[in-house]
Symmetry: C3
Subunit: 294 residues, 3 copies
C-alpha cells in the first residue's frame, strides 16, 4: 500500500521497528497464523481492497491478543503493494466491537497493564495513521474502544438500526477517555459535541450518531458492504500519493502528540487503573455484565 | 463538591490562595452576608443541586460588588460536599445579565480598572473551571459579559421568547472581546460562527442562538426550572470523578492560557480602557442608554 | 482603510516593505497602469466600498502577473482612507477564478517557481489579513486557488446555479494543498469536513457548498451585487477599529504560521513542483484541458 517515497504517516523509527515491537509484546509471527484466529482478512487483488472482519465472539472485545493480531494484520496490508484500502467490519451479529477488554485491566500486574496499553496505542497509531483508505462498516454497537476504531477510519457507514449505538462512554464506567481518544473525537464532531458527549459518556443510537456527525451515513444492513465498496471506489479514484500526504497533513498534529507523550500516557494509565477505587468499579461493572447474561 | 483527590480544574495555588484573593479585591467575609445581597443562593441538600438567582435590578450588571459576591458564592458551593451542581438563573424579569457594568470602566483610576478586570477573570476561571455541573437557565437577554457567564456553563437552556437575545456584542460598543471570551465562544460554536458573530457584535434572538449552537435548547418560560432540574439529574447520574476529569481535559488548555497571561491581560485592558477615544465611546453609549430610559 | 494606530493584521515589516516586495517580484509601478489590465477596480467614495472585478479571460487564472496586480490593487485600497470594504467578483462569465496558473508551475526554473509561490503567499496574506471588510461575490466556478481567494474573505455569497462549483481540489491533480490553504479551510468548515473534502479533492456544487458552510449564502445571479452591497453595509455599520482588532484576534494564529514558515514553504513548493513525476502529472493535466477545448 505504500508507494515508493511515501512514508507512513507516523514516522517514528524505534516505535515502528522490529525491536520496539518485540519489547511491546507484539511478535512478528507469520501473518497467516493470526489471520484465521480473531480477525478474518480477505484481500481482493483486483480492486486492491481488503476486508477485515472481527470474529472474536461474543463481543469482539479488544484483548491483548486481538490487538496484537489487528496490528500485525494492518502492518501486513500496509506493506502489501496490492492493497490500497481496507474495510473494517464485524463478523459477529449486533456488535461491531465492545471496546477494550476489561479483563485485561482487572487484577493484573503493572507490567501487564503497560503491555496492554502500549498495544492499544499501537492499534490507534496504525489505524489513524494508515496510508490506506480505511472505511468502518459498522454493523452493530460500538462503545468505547470499539468507537475509537471507527473514529480512526477515513469514513464511517453504520447500519441504520436504532438499537445499535456508538460512543465514547468511558465516563459511565467511572474512567476517563485518554486525550488521544478525545483528540480523534474532537477532529470529527467538534469541541462542543465532544465535550458534552464525553462528560455524559453518551452512547448515541445510529440516527443520533449520524445527526451529530459521529458517523457519515446510515444504510440498511443488507446494503452495508455494497455501499462500503462504492465509497471505497470513490476514495481510490484519487492518486494515492496526494491523498496520503493530505491525510497526513490533517492528522499529524494529533498523532505526534501521542508519539511525544507515549511513555507518560502508559504511566498514567497503569497508575490510574491500579487504584483500588478503579479496580472496585471495574469489578462491579463485570459483575453487572455477568448478571445481565443470566 | 470536590471529591477527595480531585483537584479543582484550575490548579494555580497562588491565584486561588487567600493572599492572592485579598490582593485582587475579593475579601473572605462570611458568605451569608453576601448571599442575600445581589445573588440569592439556595442549596437543596437532598438533590445536591444549588440555584443561584441574580437579583441585582435593573439589569444584573456585573459590577465589582456583584462579581465579588458571585465568586465567593461559587467558592462556597465548590467547597461544600453537599453540593454537586448549580443552576444559574435570573430573578429579574426579561434579563439574565446585561454584562460588565460600564460604570466600572468609565472615569475611574487605573487601579480600579485593574481590580475590576481581575474580578472578571476570576469569575470566568471559577465558572468555566468549576468541578460542579453548571447549567445556565437563561430567562432573559444576555449580552456581552452576561453571555460569557452562560457560555462558561456546561449546558445552556434558554426561554424560547424571540425578544430575548444573547451574544458577545462588544464590537457594537467599539470594544473588543478578550481572547478568553473568544476561546470560550469558539469551543462552543466553532471558529467560523464565532468569527462572524464577534466581528458583527451580533445579538442572536433565542431561536437563532439555538440554531447556531450558542444555546443547547429552548423551552417555554414556565418549563425552564423544571427542565433545568431534569438536565441536571442527567448530568449528576455520572460519577463525579470521571466527569470532572473529562471536563478538565476539555477545558484546561483554554483556562491555562488565561492563567499564563493573566497580568498581561489586565495590563492590556487597563491601557485600552483608559484611552480617550474608548472613554468617549463609553460616555456616548451611557448617554444613549439614559435617553432610552426616558 | 487603515485608521491611525491600527496596524495591518499581518505585521511583518520586511515582507511588507518596499525592498522585500521588489525582491519578491512585485514592483511598485503606479497602480492605474495595472488597474485596467487584469483586474477592474472601482471605488465608490460615498459608500467607502470598492469593487474588484477579475477580467483575465478565459478563466481568471492566477498567473504571476495577475497576482502582482491583485496585491498592488489591494495595497492601494488598504492605504486609501476613503475605502473601508471591497467586494471581489468576476467579470468573466461562469468562472470566478480557475486558481493558480498551471503554466507558471510547468517547465520553468526553480527561481521562477519561488517567485511565483511568494506571490501566491503574498496574495493570501493580504486578503486573509486585510483590515477592510472583504466580501466574495462568487459568480462562477472557483476551484483550488480560486476557492482560496473566496475562503480568505470575510463573507461569501455564491450564485445559486448548481453548475458552479467550488473547492480545494488539488488532490485530484496529484498535488497537495499547502498547510495555510488547509488552515483557512478548517477555520471555515471545521476539521472533519475539511479532511474529507481535501482528501477527495471535492468540487462542491453551489447548494452543497452552502450546506457545508463553505459559502455563507446563495442568491440568484441577478441579485448578487445588490446582496453583496447589503451585506457590506451591515459589516460597515460596525466601528472599524473594534472590527479590525476582532478579525485580527481570530486570524492572527493562522497568518503568523505562514509568516514564520514562509521561506521553508517556498522551498517545499519548489522542490515538490520540480519533481519529474509532478511535472508529468501537470503536463498530462494540461493536455487533457487542451483536448477538452476542442
Amino acid at each position: 500500500a505504500v508507494s515508493p517515497g511515501v512514508l507512513p504517516l507516523c514516522r517514528q523509527p524505534p516505535a515502528w521497528g522490529r525491536a520496539a515491537r518485540r519489547s511491546s509484546g507484539l511478535s512478528l509471527a507469520p501473518c497467516r497464523a493470526f489471520s484465521n484466529n480473531k480477525i478474518l482478512v480477505e484481500l481482493d487483488e483486483s480492486s486492491g481492497v481488503a476486508t477485515m472482519k472481527f470474529k472474536s465472539p461474543p463481543v469482539n472485545s479488544l484483548s491483548l491478543d486481538f490487538l496484537t493480531e489487528f496490528c500485525i494484520s494492518l502492518e501486513k496490508l500496509e506493506n502489501d503493494r496490492a492493497c490500497r484500502g481496507v474495510v473494517i467490519t464485524s463478523n459477529v451479529p449486533n456488535i461491531f466491537s465492545s471496546g477494550l477488554d476489561i479483563t485485561e485491566m482487572y487484577g493484573k500486574s503493572t507490567e501487564h497493564y503497560a503491555e496492554f496499553w502500549r498495544a492499544v496505542q499501537e492499534m490507534w497509531l496504525r489505524v489513524y495513521g494508515s496510508n490506506m483508505v480505511t472505511i468502518a462498516a459498522i454493523n452493530g454497537s460500538s462503545p468505547a474502544g470499539g468507537c475509537l476504531v471507527a473514529l480512526s477510519c477515513d469514513y464511517r457507514i453504520m447500519v441504520e438500526n436504532p438499537k445499535f449505538s456508538i460512543g465514547l462512554n468511558e465516563a459511565q464506567l467511572g474512567i476517563v477517555a485518554p486525550f488521544w481518544f478525545k483528540d480523534t473525537f474532537v477532529n470529527i464532531v467538534g469541541h462542543r459535541v465532544a465535550e458534552r458527549s464525553l462528560q455524559l459518556g453518551s452512547l448515541h443510537p445510529a440516527p443520533e450518531a449520524h445527526k451529530t456527525g459521529l458517523v457519515d451515513e446510515l444504510v440498511p444492513e443488507e446494503k452495508l458492504q455494497e455501499r462500503a465498496a462504492a465509497v471505497m471506489a470513490q476514495w481510490l479514484a484519487l492518486p494515492d500519493h496526494a491523498r496520503q500526504l493530505t491525510k497526513s497533513m490533517m492528522r499529524r498534529a494529533v498523532l505526534d502528540r501521542l508519539v511525544a507523550h507515549r511513555e507518560e500516557d502508559i504511566q498514567n494509565f497503569t497508575t490510574f487503573i491500579s487504584k483500588e477505587s478503579i479496580q472496585k468499579s471495574l469489578r462491579m461493572y463485570m459483575e453487572m455484565l455477568k448478571k445481565k447474561k443470566h
